[in-house]
């Protein structure tokens, strides 16, 4: 640690709250907008990504409202009502996927937590990091502007804002509808998604370089916390898959603007080729969404249950396995597209093989709980809910991976329910739990635990009410993306809609809790949960260079060296236990493998 610039060495011990930390060492606006500090960039992401989440959520509520009963609701004119609904679900999907789910955990928590966990002072390419944030902002502006102004366009009947034609193709941009039939602003929306892709690529590139090159002495691969393993696997996908999205959207733009016909069947193109292109990115993208959640859950469970993670190596390597296998299963989105039976069989088989590493993770989490000492705080509650919801989401994936049943279930509400359990039920719950978990580290203040638990329970109930019933609706044959539906399905939709409102209630409670905690919460100790990953070895909030004293790298889950602070101020290290653990872990090099 000799080379550490001692400019902010103002605190005697590393755990005491520093006078000058990354939040206040420079308060000017410019120091935030042009910061190269990974922690501040993480916060910038948090603001924008949560805004995107709000937009997507509002339109989720709107489209559930339209579905309360068959027939048009928002407009007497059917054509207008259907168009409005189509714009709603497209907006909801595109915003949630491209602007919220994909960047949420990697860009916010990955940026903030990963370098600290790793013991590094920053990510490998700080300026690239800031750049990718601004690329994200620009792309989001394109996308959000087009989609939102498009809603006005549908309501008023002519474009109100310049170029604001919205998007009604669904977030998948399937050709030839998106290239020849749709009269919405496909170009602008595609451009937005295209730009967002580069932000994702640069973030992933940054994390790969960071994990490879910035590990301090003693931080061997198998001493890395599981969150880093998961984020690293995610970065691999981002780097290897997102470029294909770029070229896909490029071809889409060329096809719509210049009439290049690569996907146009009337002139020798092939619309199913587009689906190959799109899903070659978008299925791995599903793992971009869920893998970081896996990492978060591993941290949350082991920290709040005070027990060393069970089967460290299996969880770590299953992340990599999922990331790589995830590239070979895209065809299971195309079982009914006329894809050849051979391709279908291959894709189906590989799809099942992915289920195993996913199951291994779940089993190891449950095994970690055994004999543990569980503090059922809000983050832990979210982690437990995650296990439940991901189990449902994963198991219903079997119905869709099986060829025969998928033919029946494809493009029905069964699929909708399935991927909401995986994307929302799992990823969103992990995300909120992670924010609660690292809230003290990020802002140096605590949230109200009771309110947090209430919010968690309400969200959980509302979520299951919304989507569990949709499995039934889908199995009964309710197709997705329907603005209206046969009366027989009405009961399902009404239950769903009520559930959606309950979810939003839970969201408001959570938001309220965060705002209160942010401004009026009690001051947080350096280590409120007794975690042993490196971010708990520094003050909260951390100083500008993350560590005032070089952290001793050991087994990240050796939590016994932390004991409750007698004067109730979080958890403090027990020196002799720490020494013993250090000796032990030096004994055999990789701390993870106990």
């Amino acid at each position: 640690m000799s080379s550490l610039a001692p400019d902010i060495q103002t605190m005697p011990t590393p755990l005491e709250r520093p006078k000058h930390h990354y939040l206040n060492h420079n308060k000017s606006i410019a120091s935030w907008l042009f910061t190269l500090d990974h922690k501040r960039i993480g916060l910038l992401y948090m603001v924008t990504v949560l805004a995107a989440f709000a937009i997507g959520g509002i339109f989720a509520i709107l489209l559930r409202t339209e579905l309360w009963a068959p027939g048009p609701l928002f407009s007497a004119d059917k054509t207008k009502a259907w168009n409005l609904y189509n714009h709603f679900f497209t907006l909801h999907g595109a915003v949630m996927v491209f602007m919220f789910i994909i960047p949420a955990v990697p860009a916010i928590l990955g940026n903030f937590v990963l370098p600290i966990m790793l013991g590094a002072k920053d990510v490998a390419f700080p300026r690239l990091n800031l750049l990718s944030f601004y690329i994200y902002v620009i792309g989001s502006c394109f996308l959000a502007y087009n989609l939102l102004s498009g809603v006005l366009y549908v309501i008023v009947g002519h474009p109100v804002l310049w170029g604001g034609y919205g998007l009604d193709t669904g977030w998948t941009f399937y050709t030839p509808y998106s290239t020849t039939a749709s009269d919405s602003g496909v170009l602008l929306a595609t451009l937005g998604a295209f730009i967002l892709g580069f932000s994702s690529i640069l973030t992933g590139l940054n994390f790969i370089a960071t994990v490879h090159m910035l590990r301090p002495k003693g931080m061997t691969w198998f001493r890395m916390p599981l969150f880093i393993w998961a984020t690293y696997a995610t970065a691999l996908i981002q780097v290897l898959a997102t470029p294909v999205l770029a070229i896909t959207l490029l071809l889409l733009v060329a096809e719509r603007a210049l009439r290049v016909g690569i996907f146009d069947p009337t002139i020798g193109g092939d619309p199913v080729l587009y689906q190959h292109f799109f899903w070659f990115y978008s299925h791995p993208a599903v793992y971009i969404m869920i893998l970081p959640a896996f990492g978060v859950i591993s941290e949350l469970i082991t920290t709040h249950s005070r027990r060393h993670i069970f089967g460290y190596h299996f969880i770590a390597l299953s992340s990599i396995a999922i990331a790589l296998l995830g590239f070979l299963v895209w065809g299971h989105h195309m079982f009914t597209s006329g894809q050849s039976p051979l391709a279908n069989a291959i894709f189906s088989l590989i799809t099942f093989s992915i289920a195993i590493p996913s199951a291994v993770k779940v089993f190891n989490w449950v095994a970690t709980l055994w004999g543990s000492s569980i503090h059922l705080r809000t983050p832990m509650l979210y982690a437990l809910f995650f296990i439940g919801l991901f189990t449902i989401g994963g198991l219903t994936g079997l119905h869709l991976g099986t060829l025969s049943t998928d033919i029946h279930l494809h493009d029905t509400y069964f699929v909708v329910a399935h991927f909401h359990y995986v994307m929302v039920g799992s990823m969103l719950f992990a995300f909120i739990g992670a924010i609660y978990h690292w809230f003290p580290k990020i802002f140096g203040r605590m949230c109200n635990d009771r309110v947090g638990q209430i919010g968690a329970v309400i969200t959980f109930v509302g979520f299951n009410m919304t989507f569990l019933i949709q499995f039934v609706a889908g199995a009964e044959g309710m197709p997705r993306r329907y603005a209206t539906y046969p009366d027989a399905f009405q009961i399902y939709h009404q239950i769903s809609t009520i559930g959606a409102y309950i979810i939003s209630l839970g969201m408001f409670i959570t938001l309220y809790n965060w705002v209160v905690g942010l401004f009026w919460g009690p001051i947080a100790p350096a280590n409120p949960w007794g975690g042993n990953t490196l971010e708990w070895h520094t003050a909260s909030p951390p100083p500008y260079d993350n560590f005032s004293v070089s952290p001793e790298v050991g087994d990240p889950y050796e939590m016994q060296i932390w004991e409750p602070d007698p004067n109730g101020n979080g958890w403090v290290k027990n020196p002799e236990k720490a020494a013993a653990a250090a000796a032990a872990s030096h004994g055999h090099g990789h701390g993870g493998a106990h």
Binding site: R127, L128, V239, R259, V260, I267, F280
Partner: protein
């Protein structure tokens, strides 16, 4: 203190998307190599670590480039696999000689680039600047030839996709926006070149030119053989070409590119030759953009005619864009080299710029046989 070399490396991997960032780097780096060199970022310990990180980042970026072009190669494979005949003859609109020259130029520029890196490593500043200049010139020459080729395509309206003059869907019916006035003007003007596409046996369902004099070529009688859609009004006063139609490509009536579209109704008599090799004899000397009429194709293939031109323009276009970016990088490196910022202890930007340039070269190495040398 944070505007350091690591950042120049950091953004260097993405020349395409952060041009504005290039501006910053000018002042980013100090000279010398003392205990804690000025170009060493605060979060690195040693120049080696920082150098290695930059290389790792660059190679990762190159991997993304490979996958991005990989998508185009997938499209190429599928389209060619679905329409082999189309690719087989449509590529004759290109001249392999130009392609070969392109390849040689790019290889040479790669050679000079590698030499430039060596010069930087050996503190040969003047040589480095010279090599960078040569590399830039190579890119310039490459783009010049591309310009010649594109210009000829443009002259013959061999556009990608639905705008391609050979395309039966030429009118762009399937699109919301009706054609603009000049598009309609264009198609009136240069569909003349292709009157010969009518009285061929394969095109049985095509209507006779006489039909088109009445009306304005819109009325459809039976079937929707969209061929008559672009049958020119003046078709009847153009001498019909007797194109010998085979399943194989034998006999290619050719329009001399010198004529342009002005009076292209003068059409050379069909040349019948066995085998593909001598087909190149059809190509005029300069540019060699022999426009082969598609009368020789099976009727279903005629509808797919743009499959080749679309992929050709997308691939060469995207590659050309990368060459342009690479030339920009060369200029930037040259400027920094004139300031003497590179030396044996610090030449990372040269190295990374070189890696990028070599990748562009690599992609062309594959594009050349796939586009120009189809047999």
């Amino acid at each position: 203190m944070a505007t350091t070399a690591s950042d120049t490396h950091g953004h260097d991997p993405s020349p395409g998307h952060d041009a504005h960032d290039h501006a910053k780097v000018g002042h980013g780096d100090g000279h010398g190599h003392e205990a804690h060199p000025a170009h060493l970022a605060h979060h690195f310990d040693t120049p080696e670590q920082q150098f290695g990180t930059s290389k790792l980042g660059m190679w990762t970026f190159l991997a993304t480039e490979v996958l991005m072009f990989g998508g185009l190669f997938v499209a190429y494979s599928v389209l060619r696999h679905n329409n082999p005949e189309v690719f087989l003859w449509a590529h004759k609109a290109l001249d392999w000689k130009w392609g070969a020259i392109d390849t040689a130029i790019l290889l040479a520029s790669s050679y000079t680039m590698a030499w430039g890196v060596r010069a930087a490593q050996l503190n040969q500043r003047g040589l480095l600047m010279f090599m960078l200049a040569l590399t830039f010139a190579g890119g310039l020459g490459f783009m010049g030839i591309k310009a010649i080729e594109y210009e000829a395509k443009w002259r013959h309206h061999l556009f990608p996709g639905k705008l391609n003059v050979l395309n039966v869907e030429y009118k762009g019916q399937n699109f919301k926006a009706p054609l603009t006035a000049e598009q309609i003007a264009n198609q009136k003007e240069h569909t003349i070149d292709y009157v010969d596409s009518h009285d061929k046996p394969a095109g049985g369902e095509h209507t006779m030119p006489a039909k088109q004099e009445s009306g304005n070529g819109e009325s459809s009688t039976h079937g929707d053989s969209s061929a008559e859609v672009h049958t020119p009004p003046v078709a009847h006063d153009a001498p019909p070409v007797i194109a010998s139609v085979h399943a194989e490509l034998i006999g290619t009536p050719v329009i001399d590119p010198h004529e342009g579209t002005a009076n292209a109704a003068k059409i050379k008599p069909p040349v019948t030759i066995p085998g593909g090799v001598k087909l190149d004899a059809l190509e005029p000397h300069q540019g060699g953009h022999a426009i082969v009429t598609y009368g020789m194709l099976h009727t279903p293939d005629q509808k797919k005619i743009n499959a080749f031109f679309s992929i050709y323009f997308m691939m060469t276009g995207l590659h050309g864009f990368h060459v342009l970016v690479g030339m920009g990088v060369m200029v930037w490196l040259f400027i920094r080299a004139t300031r003497g910022e590179f030396h044996s202890e610090y030449y990372t930007p040269v190295d990374l710029g070189g890696l990028y340039w070599h990748l562009v070269d690599l992609i062309w190495i594959f594009l050349f046989p796939l586009l120009y040398l189809i047999h």
